[in-house]
């Protein structure tokens, strides 16, 4: 595997659907009418929507061509930091597509939905065991939705205790979703800086924590890829003032079998099944964002909840302190099936190995590239490492230039310009499913690009050169929005 994967090939042009439309075509095998036509009053009916009129081959070719303009994990290495773009096992898709799951109606009733409820119950137990918490809800539809659930739980806890609080502490390494979730509950975000070594200092928390502060939101491992080793001391400070500790578990992939967040002072944690538990990202969802809590917070979990009663399972809505309902039904059930299948395929040792190898891969990349790219914090990392473009500045090359050039080499770029605490951040999360060979290719590609930055900077400014389109004009797109054809 000495050859880089990026190459040029035949890419097809494909117009917008309606530009292919031809009056009279229909790609659907229409069911035969077998009852009398019943006409609604004309005051109620409108014209048929102007949808494209296509044959089945038109549709097949359209989406096949579109798909070829996309890059997925199956296409190549996708080291997008903080997104955990690991391989999505195909057997999980087969499991979710089984008739008994895919055709199940959410209002069929508990008695006729035992398989689905049992799966949800078991998955809750497994996630509680992996994270060290007492109870889990699977209802949130994505990570940010899980965060909202978590903050609503904290809000409900303080309301129940008799005095609502007005603020919440958020470190500068947090995902943007953290402060946005806090705002939805009416909490003011109190931003604090991480210390010189990239982790939170207890003193910084103690300086702002008071009895009007609802708690703190901590991502651990944080978005610099470091374990927050002061977490217990920080939790003690927050707890001593009556606050709660929210854990953003987006980076759980680094610590399975090593640390159980429920054992180190965290009170509520969300997980992303589409990150740690290998369900596909789908071009931006659907994800799933279960929330795990300590015993004291269980009464606040959203309804309905799944309960086991001897050998049968039922949905419970009678929960006086609940934050309420967050999804029309029970959350993203088919995503839960895939995560459940993944956990059963891996077992305890498999999941522990996942975290060990994810951390190995990230440290290997960090050590291999640290002379090539600047490493603002040179410490052992967890599942991801953050570089920046400091060394390339003298050649007027930015992180964006290098990211775009990586596309030509056949790699999806890392997360760029995040976390905000590192200027020009270049955040690599290889994940455990990438082999040494693929990672070595990536390392070689970055080294080759760093050399190009010196020898032929113009090439990087123009990159990408091999993709279907080159750099797009985002400024005009935002200034003169054209959001429909």
């Amino acid at each position: 595997m000495n050859q880089q994967p990026g190459t040029s090939g035949l890419i097809f042009n494909e117009p917008l659907l309606w530009d292919k439309s031809c009056k009279g075509r229909c790609a659907m095998s229409l069911p035969k009418p077998d009852v009398e036509r019943a006409n609604l009053d004309e005051s109620l009916t409108g014209d048929a929507p102007e949808l494209p009129q296509l044959s089945e081959l038109d549709v097949a070719r359209h989406y096949t061509r579109l798909s070829q303009w996309n890059f997925g994990v199956d296409s190549g290495m996708y080291p997008l930091g903080s997104c955990t773009m690991k391989y999505n096992p195909k057997t999980n898709e087969v499991q979710a597509a089984r008739q008994g799951f895919a055709a199940a109606h959410p209002f069929a009733g508990d008695k006729f939905s035992q398989g689905a409820l049992k799966l949800m119950y078991n998955l809750e137990q497994y996630l509680a065991e992996i994270t060290g918490f007492d109870a889990v809800t699977l209802q949130p539809a994505a990570g940010a939705h899980g965060e909202l659930a978590g903050i609503l739980i904290i809000h409900a806890y303080h309301a129940k205790s008799g005095k609502q609080r007005s603020k919440i502490i958020i470190p500068d390494t947090a995902h943007g979703t953290n402060p946005a979730s806090a705002t939805l509950c009416g909490y003011e975000s109190i931003n604090i800086k991480s210390g010189e070594n990239g982790i939170l200092e207890p003193a910084a928390v103690a300086a702002v924590m008071d009895e009007d502060t609802a708690g703190i939101m901590v991502t651990n491992p944080n978005t610099l890829g470091f374990f927050e080793s002061n977490i217990k001391e920080i939790a003690d400070i927050v707890h001593s003032k009556g606050g709660l500790v929210y854990g953003d578990g987006a980076n759980m992939n680094a610590i399975m079998g090593v640390v159980k967040p429920g054992e180190i002072g965290i009170d509520v944690l969300h997980l992303n099944l589409h990150k740690t538990f290998a369900t596909p990202h789908g071009g931006g969802g659907p994800g799933s964002g279960p929330v795990a809590v300590v015993k004291a917070l269980e009464p606040f979990l959203p309804i309905p909840r799944v309960e086991k009663d001897l050998d049968s399972y039922k949905l419970i809505t009678d929960s006086p302190d609940t934050i309420g309902r967050l999804h029309t039904f029970y959350g993203h059930f088919s995503v839960m099936i895939k995560a459940y299948s993944y956990i059963l395929s891996m077992g305890s040792k498999g999941l522990s190995d996942v975290s060990k190898l994810a951390v190995l891969n990230a440290n290997y990349v960090k050590e291999s590239l640290k002379g090539t790219l600047n490493l603002p914090y040179d410490m052992p990392c967890m599942h991801e490492c953050v570089f920046n473009d400091e060394f390339q500045k003298e050649h007027h090359i930015t992180t964006m230039d290098m990211a775009k050039r990586l596309l030509d080499y056949g790699f999806h770029p890392p997360t760029v310009y995040f976390p905000l605490v590192v200027e020009g951040a270049f955040m690599v999360e290889p994940t455990e499913t990438e082999s040494k060979e693929y990672i070595d290719q990536f390392i070689d590609a970055v080294k080759a690009i760093a050399k190009e930055a010196k020898d032929d900077p113009e090439k990087l400014h123009k990159a990408p050169l091999l993709t279907k389109v080159t750099r797009l004009d985002e400024v005009t797109a935002a200034r003169k929005p054209c959001l429909r054809g």
């Binding site: 229409l30 609604l40 999505n88 959410p106 180190i264 099936i337 996942v354 891969n361």
Partner: protein
């Protein structure tokens, strides 16, 4: 383990580069007292074949077999899904990509969602549609928040009692912590939202009406728009059955400011209720208030057309605590599925399928009337309607599920305690005349 490629030699070579002597040493940066003492207690790992057997056993203990007949809707509908849709949507270039942060290698997702936005605006008669939300309930809660934030003097949102019961609960969950309230608009004996009751309500930032409503009846959206406008509130229309707009006048026609809907009917399996597809659309005036991702058209450095994520200044990763919502991942792959479905059925197909839904529901209702059921409301409906059942029906209903895998309607009493013995029925294009005749024979 087949998903983990590392050989023993790889691990040794890589550890050497990191300067650590074992995999466990990689975690030396974590204080010992924070490490867990116990390994994770999980069932033993299964082979693919053991997993198949386990999962099939679970799946088959749900009553959703091949012969299954579904006369329940209530927010999750049984429709034909053409084979081409699961086939195309399984392409890993769509499925295993993430949010299109790098547009040069994401044009497939971007053009596909741009086409989705366009077809949704066409279906609903609106100017702008977002790249999707989680489901109708969460989209509706976001629409309520838009109305409440815009109108700082009013802190209530008027919501019809015939908005899906779960959606009303979700709105409450979302708006209550910020100090806002729902005021519920009662329904009339015709099974429609009481517009006169709304006229008497004050301090309202918006009005949310579902049509077809939870009873399946078609609301007079024009009347609600007029009252909402007179009260200087936003008019929010919602729906759970997207195919209704293959036949009915759309919410845009009646002047909706915002539309929140469920798109599950557009090629997405029921899957025990999720993931569905939240649709969220607005007038041009609301464009910058809408939460979540939007795809826009632009051009590249060579002047070629292309698509990008745009108007990101509304979003959490830029605006942080000032963002219009915290949403990040949406239901992108289901939006792509819906686009494939709309392209497949096209203008001709959506009309015909919508008509067949209505035809079958009318036939089912007439047949049930002959079998001793009483029509609860004499109001035009799309593919769902309410009937009062004769005594003894509940036992027959349970027996039908057990014996024939047929779900004959859903009891409304749980949601509307005053409607004892009332059932919500649904008929779609997937039930034949013969299925309906058989059902009626069984429940007579």
């Amino acid at each position: 383990m087949r998903y983990l490629p590392h050989t023993k030699e790889d691990i040794e070579a890589m550890l050497k580069v990191t300067g650590q002597s074992s995999l466990d040493d990689l975690f030396n940066c974590i204080p010992d007292d924070l490490k867990t003492k116990e390994s994770i207690d999980l069932p033993e790992a299964l082979s693919e074949w053991e997993l198949n057997a386990h999962m099939e056993a679970l799946a088959s203990s749900n009553i959703a077999c091949k012969e299954y007949k579904c006369f329940i809707g209530a927010g999750s509908y049984d429709h034909y899904i053409p084979a081409i849709i699961p086939y195309l949507i399984s392409r890993s270039e769509f499925m295993t990509a993430y949010t299109p942060y790098q547009p040069e290698v994401s044009q497939g997702t971007l053009q596909g969602i741009y086409e989705f936005q366009t077809m949704i605006t066409e279906l609903l008669g609106m100017d702008v549609a977002t790249a999707s939300h989680y489901d109708c309930g969460t989209a509706l809660a976001e629409a309520a928040l838009i109305a409440l934030r815009k109108n700082r003097k009013a802190n209530k949102i008027a919501v019809s009692a015939l908005v899906h019961p779960s959606h009303r609960q979700i709105i409450h969950t979302y708006i209550n912590p910020a100090g806002y309230e729902i005021i519920e608009i009662p329904y009339t004996k015709e099974g429609l939202t009481d517009v006169d009751a709304l006229k008497d309500m004050d301090d309202i930032a918006g009005v949310a009406i579902q049509s077809p409503n939870f009873f399946g009846n078609i609301e007079d959206l024009k009347a609600f728009k007029a009252v909402a406008a007179a009260k200087k509130g936003l008019f929010i229309a919602s729906f759970t059955e997207a195919l209704a707009y293959g036949l009915l006048k759309n919410p845009g026609y009646f002047g909706a400011d915002l539309v929140a809907g469920e798109g599950q009917s557009l090629g997405i399996p029921k899957s025990f209720g999720g993931p569905g597809l939240g649709l969220l659309a607005g007038t041009k005036k609301q464009m910058r208030n809408l939460p979540g991702r939007l795809i826009g058209k632009t051009s590249d450095a060579n002047g070629d057309e292309g698509y990008v994520l745009t108007l990101a200044t509304r979003e959490q990763h830029i605006r942080r605590e000032k963002a219009s919502s915290n949403i990040c991942s949406n239901n992108g792959l289901n939006a792509m599925t819906a686009a494939m479905y709309l392209a497949t059925v096209g203008k001709v197909g959506i009309r015909e399928i919508a008509r067949q839904n209505h035809d079958k529901a009318v036939y089912l209702k007439a047949s049930l009337e002959k079998a001793g059921f009483e029509s609860s409301f004499d109001t035009p409906f799309f593919n769902e309607f309410v009937m009062k059942a004769p005594v003894g029906f509940e036992q027959k209903r349970t027996a039908l599920v057990n014996d024939k895998c047929t779900f004959a309607g859903m009891s409304l009493e749980k949601f509307y305690p005053e409607l004892k013995q009332h059932y919500l029925f649904c008929a779609t294009e997937t039930v034949s005349k013969q299925d309906i005749d058989q059902l009626v024979k069984e429940v007579q």
